[in-house]
């Protein structure tokens, strides 16, 4: 054999090996993507992967982690590449889900609900994720943010915990002490999902809406201007770097002692246990100080399965994760962050040590509320808002906040511009 023949032979062998190698694996691979990346939660996902793999040798699950703010863009890119993750856990936005369901990209999870037992689920939560005639997602937790307060700082300043906008404005001003590096409030102003949520809540509390009940943009109204004026004022009593704030920063501002109060969900409880247990006895939660009315954004953490070669295996994995033991395992590290949507899991949550020990923190997070609002259905007279995805994709509300807070633009002008941008973003969207 001469060198030429050797080279040709080696090339042929390498080619054959690569073809055969790709067919060698008999395991069904599943990509599992989640933005729930608290270290304690990541340990749960890893434990799930190991336990499920032990019981199901034919399946190999690959966990992947993304940020909340980038999740939708990452999924879009994966869909474009033709290889979306099989399962996504948490933070899928309703608007994007509706778009994906309309384009037949999602698996109908109705069979999973029926196999588990529909009666055990919180019916309104399931209904909220029915899109284009299918069960587009199965929520495993429902949640809403609350106001976290440092009772010691409030007492020191001789202040009662605020229940209205005026009380909160006055308290935040009094609590702000830049020399000590303490700020009375924490209103995010980053180009982030958290900024969008907080500004939505402010708008609803002022009596406004982003869309009217005919789904026309309704941003340029006195109520929205009033909400943005309040938001901008409260930003003056917030840390100086709020221009970058999203979820993590808003929580860290409280646990680090930077802010005397912050809006957040129940995850702060686990962060306090991990990072600042000395603040636990000095912490209390309450519902948002009300404006013209009481309102808060209601959201879910849910499982979504994208259409692909391994949809059946993905559905089985989702069904397994929805078993009461697994659901409680998911919630345990961040107890009270979400209320489980399976009724059979709630007693386990209520027996948790943290829930028993801190009712003044946990009650506002887990007792049912009747003033939750979803952005895709801003009132009972609003139909499902299929334009919300396009509105959200263009950061209309975060840009509005930034123009006022960072760009010092007059509120009326900024709101007018935001209204025009929203009209432009949604004018070609069809149901």
């Amino acid at each position: 054999m001469n060198r030429r023949d050797l080279l040709l032979g080696a090339g042929a062998l390498a080619g054959t090996h690569s073809i055969l190698g790709s067919q060698a694996s008999a395991q069904t691979p599943l990509r599992f993507l989640t933005p729930e990346t608290d270290p304690s939660q990541v340990r749960v996902w890893q434990a799930f992967v190991e336990q499920y793999a032990t019981a199901n040798r034919g399946v190999s699950i690959r966990p992947e982690y993304a940020s909340w703010d980038d999740l939708v863009r990452k999924v879009s890119a994966d869909l474009m590449a033709g290889s979306p993750p099989e399962v996504i856990a948490g933070s899928s936005r309703e608007g994007f889900m509706a778009t994906a369901a309309r384009r037949n990209l999602l698996v109908d999870l109705t069979p999973v609900v029926e196999e588990i037992g529909r009666a055990d689920f919180h019916a309104p939560s399931l209904e909220a994720w029915k899109m284009s005639g299918i069960q587009a997602a199965i929520p495993y937790g429902v949640q809403w943010p609350v106001l976290w307060c440092r009772t010691d700082l409030f007492q020191e300043a001789g202040l009662a915990l605020p229940t209205t906008w005026d009380e909160y404005r006055a308290a935040a001003e009094k609590l702000t002490n830049t020399q000590r590096g303490v700020f009375g409030a924490c209103f995010p102003a980053g180009r982030t999902w958290n900024t969008e949520i907080q500004s939505c809540i402010a708008i609803w509390q002022a009596g406004g809406t982003m869309f009217d009940d005919k789904l026309n943009v309704s941003l340029d109204t006195p109520e929205v201007r009033r909400a943005m004026t309040y938001y901008a004022e409260m930003c003056r009593f917030s840390p100086p770097d709020i221009g970058q704030y999203g979820f993590r920063e808003a929580s860290a501002a409280y646990t680090s002692g930077k802010s005397a109060s912050t809006f957040y969900w129940g995850r702060v409880l686990s962060h306090l246990y991990q990072q600042a247990p000395e603040l636990l006895p000095k912490t209390r939660t309450l519902h948002y100080p009300r404006g013209a009315k009481q309102a808060v954004l209601i959201g879910w953490d849910e499982f979504v399965v994208y259409r692909g070669r391994n949809s059946r295996a993905a559905m089985e994995y989702v069904k397994w994760m929805l078993q009461p033991r697994q659901m409680f395992m998911m919630m345990e590290p961040v107890i009270a962050h979400v209320v489980p949507t399976r009724n059979s899991v709630m007693p386990m949550v209520q027996q948790h040590e943290w829930v028993q020990k801190h009712p003044e923190i946990v009650n506002a997070l887990i007792q049912p509320i009747d003033f939750g609002v979803s952005p895709v259905r801003e009132s009972a007279s609003h139909p499902f808002n299929y334009k919300w995805d396009a509105f959200q994709a263009r950061f209309i509300l975060p840009d509005l906040v930034q123009r006022i807070v960072l760009g010092r633009e007059p509120v009326a002008l900024a709101v007018e511009r935001a209204h025009k941008a929203a009209v432009d973003a949604t004018k070609d969207v069809r149901q």
């Binding site: 080279l7 939708v72 384009r103 100086p240 770097d241 221009g243 994709a393 840009d399 960072l406």
Partner: protein, 322 residues
């Protein structure tokens, strides 16, 4: 009369029995061997050519094609709209602002990388104790993963606890801490600083290599003639470095103009779009707003700009060589 000379005609030589077969066989073997050589060459080149086509030519062509479509990122196909995406681009104020920001970003980072990199290379060219250790340490920013670099700088820039603010306050340069990444005015320069810090070692390495081949006789002669250090730098060192610096400037400009990760991870293009460079705008249009056609159009415009920059450079270089 019979002659012993060779015949004048080209009559074929009489064949010896067996002679034709061997010759034919030798001829065929040579042809086969030649063919095999040619094919072997093609076969060995094929993987590279295929990779080149798949990773460069096809994506480029498909990107240009997509720029003429209106296509939602979740749709398998798009609608042909011709030059509509380019018309939108040219009439879009956000695009022009991003182009300006990208140009400033590339110009500022490359300029500062070259200045700082050359200065450090000149220092490292001098003999001193521990020089090899320092030369290794200087490469450190370039070797670090971008994500690690960004995380560290976000902590350094922190408005309340960051070391940068603390040092500046201690030195009396500022009175109160600055939220570097949260204010439009400071965010751009804060990001530029990180870009310079991360990539200046590349310039150090290239310039240092060139410095080491400059003949010392030139400096000796200049010293004898009484030239100052500055005069030696301007009249000897800089001219010797010129070609290398031009190549570095071109390469760095292309890289920094296309750089996505540093700006995206630090500020995401904000605050208030103060750091919204074109690569980030492409990403937002394609995957945030789902307008794949418009995102591709911006990318094509970026490609054309960089081709123009390279053309100017090569024209300049050709003139110099002539």
């Amino acid at each position: 009369m019979a002659s012993d000379e060779a015949p004048l005609t080209d009559a074929p030589k009489p064949r010896v029995r067996g002679e034709g077969t061997a010759a034919a066989a030798a001829s065929r073997g040579g042809l086969l061997s030649a063919l095999r050589d040619r094919h072997l060459g093609l076969v060995l080149l094929a993987p590279s050519a295929l990779t080149f086509l798949m990773l460069l030519v096809f994506p480029l062509g498909y990107g240009i094609y997509t720029s003429f479509l209106q296509r939602h990122v979740l749709e398998p196909e798009g609608i042909w709209v011709g030059l509509d995406n380019y018309a939108w681009l040219l009439g879009n104020a956000d695009f022009w602002r991003s182009l300006l920001i990208s140009s400033f970003w590339a110009g500022a980072t490359v300029g500062l990388q070259i200045i700082l990199g050359t200065a450090v290379a000149l220092l490292l060219h001098q003999p001193f104790k521990g020089r090899s250790v320092v030369r290794g340490l200087v490469l450190f920013p370039y070797m670090m993963p971008v994500v690690s670099v960004v995380l560290i700088w976000m902590l350094l820039y922190n408005a309340l606890y960051g070391v940068v603010n603390w040092l500046l306050v201690q030195a009396g340069i500022i009175g109160t801490p600055i939220a570097w990444l949260s204010q439009p005015a400071s965010a751009f320069w804060a990001v530029v600083f990180v870009g310079v810090w991360k990539y200046f070692p590349f310039v150090v390495v290239i310039v240092l290599a060139r410095l080491q081949v400059i003949s010392q006789d030139l400096y000796e002669a200049a010293r004898i003639d009484g030239a100052s250090a500055w005069a030696r730098f301007v009249d000897i060192t800089l001219p010797q470095l010129r070609d290398v610096l031009l190549v570095v400037a071109l390469l760095r400009t292309i890289f920094m103009f296309n750089n996505f990760e540093i700006v995206f991870l630090l500020t995401g293009g904000g605050p208030l779009q103060a750091t919204m460079t074109l690569p980030i705008m492409v990403y937002e249009q394609a995957f945030g707003v789902y307008e794949l056609g418009r995102g591709s159009a911006i990318a094509v415009v970026m490609f054309v700009i960089l081709i123009a920059v390279m053309s100017v450079y090569f024209t300049f270089l050709r003139k110099e060589n002539d």
